[in-house]
Every structure is written in structure tokens, then in C-alpha cells.
Symmetry: C2
Subunit: 250 residues, 2 copies
């Protein structure tokens, strides 16, 4: 059997400690190649960069960087850098959780979405909590789940969004397969005034509630479990489609 | 019965012809209030602006503009501008289709996602084709679908992503309820060299294929039909979740 080829990427850039921990963790499972943004892309759009050329810089045999987005990195890695189709894509480890509705805005997850579009098993890893982040336990979790993903099938046209609680190894309760939770804000817009007395609104603050029970991603992490959520590319509400065809006569 | 309150927004900014056509079209159905970005936000992230205060400018009784993203506009409109909860949200009309995988990157659709998070029936409208865009037919379609959405229920936790072919009224084949298509690229990365002879990659060109049959959004528009796709907020692959719980023993 050939050695698995593993593409490693993220949205925080090639020098982020999270990707280095992830690369080291999966290196024992196969040939692990980093293709990651040159710098932090957390605030950048997920989309492809099409308005300018992109440059690949090879830092060493297994580390490449691109002056683009996570999505750019994945598509260029697969089409132009790697000598063959990768067996696995791992993205992260993001410092900070990617739960519930945040998934749509996450660069870490968008890299895994791009991998899934190429039908490559793709895992997105995020570590909950706040700075300073210690990636040691999360890297061990990433190793375990990456080895599972090499041995088992993922659900079709789906990636796994994995969130790890910021706990020591002994305190983590294990793995929970979860559904995406929903975040509800209350009083999350503050009013403020500029020096000329004009009212402005500042989005933030207030209280955040999560809906759903113990089977959601957010609840799992809150309760000390590793959350593994299968996220599908197809956004169609198929039940809703049948309903529309039946009821919306025009 | 009270007059319906309709929130009108977009991602191209308050002065775009598409939103003006949409506003005029739905004004006969109720009180239609525009809350839209000050300027074109097509290339901006969908996320909430949380790092600075936002200013609302009231252009007239029914037109407000905000120096933020489509998502900012929707949340501030609902929480701070409108005198009550809107009965309907309409976003667009976008010049250019939003089909298949493009949905994830669309500001037009992201405004409708935000409305759906507040459980407000939300419709995203896009007009296919290329410039110059004529919004007359699309506005009539928007009027018809908005009046349907006020009379009927939408599928739960879902928005409708509506794409209109760039045809005259007589040539449009009618409405098709569709699923999200998938876009496949081939040879979509070109190689180019900078003045110093260094290789760069430019994403674009090549050929685009669409997978799926006549029941997809892309095929419907290509065949001259109005495509209506129910898009759900929950990205969880629920079948995949059951599979993981059964098969991934750890």
C-alpha cells in the first residue's frame, strides 16, 4: 500500500502555531504537505482570487505558501503542486471554535469545503477557548481523527467539522457526533454617539444563546466533548422542495 | 388585516438599479422599506461588522442606508429601524446569477440567510446574463413570488434562492422548483510569468461544467425557466450523522 498523501492547510497562515502542530501530528500517518496562505486570512472572503495571479513559494520540500485565500491554496495544491491527488485534507488547527452558524464564515471550514468539492475526505479542526492556545491535546485529537478518516469512509459530499474543548487530555469526555447548533443573540446591538452627537450602532455585546440540545456541536464542546459534525455541500432543503412542488401552485 | 411590512435589501448598495426595481415591484404589496449598504458590497465578507460603529442614514421615509455589509443591514433593520417585525425580506435584484456552489459566496443570498435566522420569510433574487441588465421582467417575477411568499408558508428554516433567466416575458418558460447544482471546473488555472521570469498561477479560464440534471438551478435557468431553490440554514448531513454513529467506533 502506498503512503497516504495528506494536504495540510488553514486560514491563519503558514506561520500559525496551529498548522505546525497539525502538520507534525499527521506526519506520522503519511506524507504531509502544507500549502497555506502566506499570512492571516481570517477576515478575508472565502472566494477564489481571480483578479490577479498568485505566487507559490516553496519554503521546503513539504511546506508551500501562497499569497491568497485558503480556497486558493486548496485548488492550486490539488491542481498544480501535489504530485498526485491527496488522500486526505486537514485544515486548522484554528485558535477558537467554529460552531453553529459561524461555520458559514469560517476560513478553516471553507478550505475543507473546497477539498470536499474535489471529493477528497476533508477535516476542519478548531480548538475552543481563548488565548493563549495550547495545541498539544488538539493535535493528538487531530492525529486520531485523521487516522480514522484514512481508514473509514466519510459521509458522501460532506466534510467533518471538528471542535475540540480547551481541556487537558484527562478531562476530555470523548467524541460526540453532533449536529450544527443555532446561535441566538439578544440585545446584541449597542447605541453610541459620535463627537457630533450623531447616533451610531455597534454590533456586539448582549447575550448569546444557543438553541438545541446535547446533540449540537456547541453543547458537546461546552460539556467537554470533542464535537464531530458532518457538514454537507448541498444546501437544498429537499423536504422543502417537495412541499413547494405540492403547495405552491402558480 | 394590516398591510404587510417588507424589508428590501441587497449587496450592490442602495443606488443599484436592481434594488430600485425590486422596491418598486413590492411596494404594491405592502409597506416596502429599503435598508441597504451605502455602497457595493459584492466583494466584502458576509460577516457582521463588529470592529467599528455603523451609521444609519435615512434618505427618505422608506429608504435607509448603512455603511456596512448586507448582514449588518438586515440585523440593524430588524432590531433598530423597522417599527415592527417585517413579514417578508427580499434581497436583490442581483445583476448576475447566483447558482450552485456560488450561493455560499453571495451577498444577495447572505442577506436572506440573516433574515431566515430571524424566522422572517426571505427571498433572494438574481438575474442571469451579463451587462447591460434590464430588470423589468425580473421585477415582475419578484412581485409574483413575493406575493406568493406573503400568502403561503416557506419551507421551515429555509430561504428561497430565485434566479431569473435574461429573457423577455414571453420567452420565459415558467417557474421550476430546483435543487442546488454543482459546478465543476476543468483546466481552470492558467500559468503566467512575472517580469522576472517567476511562475505565477492565475485562477480562471478553463471550462466550467455543471453536474446534475434538469432539476438543478443552473439547468432550469439555462432552459429558460425561473429557478426557485429552497436553501436551508442547517448544514448538518443528518444521514451522515447516523452513519458516523453506527460505523465510526472509537
Amino acid at each position: 500500500m502506498h503512503k497516504p498523501l495528506i494536504l495540510v492547510t488553514n486560514d491563519d497562515g503558514v506561520y500559525a502555531p496551529g498548522i505546525r502542530a497539525l502538520h507534525e501530528a499527521v506526519s506520522s500517518l503519511g506524507e504531509a504537505v502544507i500549502v497555506a496562505p502566506e499570512r492571516d486570512n481570517s477576515a478575508v472572503s472565502h472566494s477564489l482570487t481571480m483578479n490577479r495571479p498568485l505566487r507559490v513559494v516553496r519554503l521546503d520540500e513539504h511546506i508551500h505558501t501562497i499569497d491568497g485565500t485558503p480556497t486558493d491554496c486548496v485548488t492550486i495544491a490539488i491542481n498544480k503542486i501535489l504530485h498526485r491527488r491527496p488522500d486526505l485534507l486537514v485544515s486548522g488547527i484554528n485558535p477558537g471554535a467554529n460552531l453553529g452558524d459561524d461555520i458559514s464564515y469560517s476560513g478553516t471550514v471553507s478550505a475543507a469545503i473546497e477539498g470536499t468539492m474535489y471529493d477528497i475526505p476533508s477535516l476542519a479542526f478548531s480548538l475552543g477557548g481563548s488565548p493563549p492556545f495550547d495545541f498539544e491535546v488538539a493535535a493528538a485529537v487531530a492525529w486520531k481523527l485523521a487516522s480514522m478518516a484514512l481508514a473509514m469512509h466519510l459521509p458522501p459530499k460532506s466534510l467533518l467539522n471538528i471542535n475540540i474543548p480547551p481541556l487537558s487530555a484527562g478531562k476530555i469526555g470523548g467524541i460526540r457526533f453532533t449536529r450544527q447548533g443555532r446561535r441566538l443573540y439578544q440585545d446584541a446591538i449597542q447605541e453610541t454617539f459620535d463627537p457630533w452627537g450623531r447616533k451610531h450602532y455597534w454590533i456586539g455585546g448582549g447575550t448569546v444563546h444557543w438553541s438545541g440540545g446535547d446533540d449540537t456541536d456547541e453543547q458537546a464542546v461546552r460539556n467537554g466533548f470533542i464535537s464531530v459534525t458532518p457538514i454537507q455541500l448541498d444546501l437544498t432543503n429537499h423536504d422543502g422542495l417537495a412541499y413547494l412542488e405540492r403547495q405552491w401552485q402558480m
